[in-house]
Symmetry: C2
Subunit: 222 residues, 2 copies
């Protein structure tokens, strides 16, 4: 029982800090995205494409969560985007407290969209609110169309489901209709995008969606 109790305390403490983060971000009119997926599902690539599509309209910043290394922050910094790298030192997910410290490193007055790339893990990050406005779950075509049912939590807690690496569909048996149907059974309100960072499919739709959402957050007079 101790284990469960401590986990609950950890989650409650996390939730408090997440609400603080959310208030702080809202005060600055920042739209915050939390990207969750398995390792290598293409979080950084989707982010690169989205930033390229929207960087003339909105000011981006990124928080990169990794167990070790800073490769992803370097990739995004190359696009001229302020990027803070969080190394979890073995930790399997980002916490709201880690994000809070990263926010201190950013110039919040100069950000429209803050993208947080969580640790590559389709399981644990789903339990930790970071204070985001929208949560994205990404699933790449090579991972297989059976994943929503096998890893439901990430799909239950997300508002957006991005299918990535759709350029690989001709080489793999992946039933797009099945994965969409099963994801919607788990969470009927998911917004779903089919994308490829290789040929750019779906990126325009994703960018339009984000622009619309940011306008909703800021209201008609922003």
């Amino acid at each position: 029982m101790t284990e469960i109790k401590v986990l609950r305390n950890v989650l409650e403490a996390n939730q408090q800090v997440a609400e603080e983060n959310r208030r702080r971000l809202r005060e600055h009119g920042i739209f915050c995205l939390n990207f969750i997926s398995s390792p290598g599902a293409g979080k950084t690539s989707v982010l690169e494409k989205t930033i390229a599509g929207l960087c003339y309209t909105f000011r981006f910043a990124c928080i990169e969560g990794d167990i070790a290394g800073e490769q992803d922050a370097k990739r995004l910094a190359r696009l001229g985007v302020p990027a803070v790298q969080i190394n979890t030192e073995g930790g399997c997910h980002l916490s709201a407290a880690m994000v809070k410290r990263a926010l201190d490193e950013l110039d919040l007055g100069n950000i429209d969209i803050l993208a947080i790339e969580n640790v590559g893990n389709l399981v644990c990050p789903a339990s930790f609110d970071l204070g985001e406005s929208l949560r994205f779950v990404l699933l790449s075509v090579p991972e297989g169309d059976d994943k929503p049912r096998k890893y439901p939590e990430a799909f239950i807690t997300s508002q957006v489901f991005v299918i990535t690496k759709c350029d690989l569909l001709p080489y793999l048996s992946f039933d797009v209709e099945r994965v969409i149907r099963e994801a919607l059974e788990i969470n009927p309100r998911l917004e779903i995008f089919r994308t490829s960072a290789v040929n750019g499919a779906g990126v325009e739709e994703l960018c339009a969606f984000l622009g619309k959402k940011l306008k909703e957050l800021r209201g008609p007079n922003a």
Copy 2:
């Protein structure tokens, strides 16, 4: 500090049960494999191919770890292999205690190789010994060649590194030499196999390796 202390207690308790499992398996001359990877890296497919290649020589059994569902156990049961499904109900890894209970369900006198398929997660399962003889880390080509450095623990604690989905190499930029070099920098004693469940590449080598290892475990007179 509470969180860390409890985690250490959990790991110590797990280690004790893992040693019990290891003794029990050794008494029955069972060679036990623990497969760790991201979701969809091909654990079940590699297992299916290995079983098909060795099922006339050795008696297999499987323990399937999943957060929800029993699809993988059903896939393996189709091969005529005794399979026990563990549902972790949200838990991000198998524990030695879960495996202990699963061992009670198996006829240990009729097993040569017991394959445990862990929850799809490249992070958390690496911290939990299950009592296995050999730990396998699998990485699929679509996940990218940068993963050993980003997720070092699974590579540090494994003895075997299986690169899966090599049939997709023509369609992706994945540097096999780089991934092997960086994995060996992290753990120089890794045995490495390049495989494809689609065209069967590397399966024969993997089967030969397992046969050799089982003979080592049982000694020359087995």
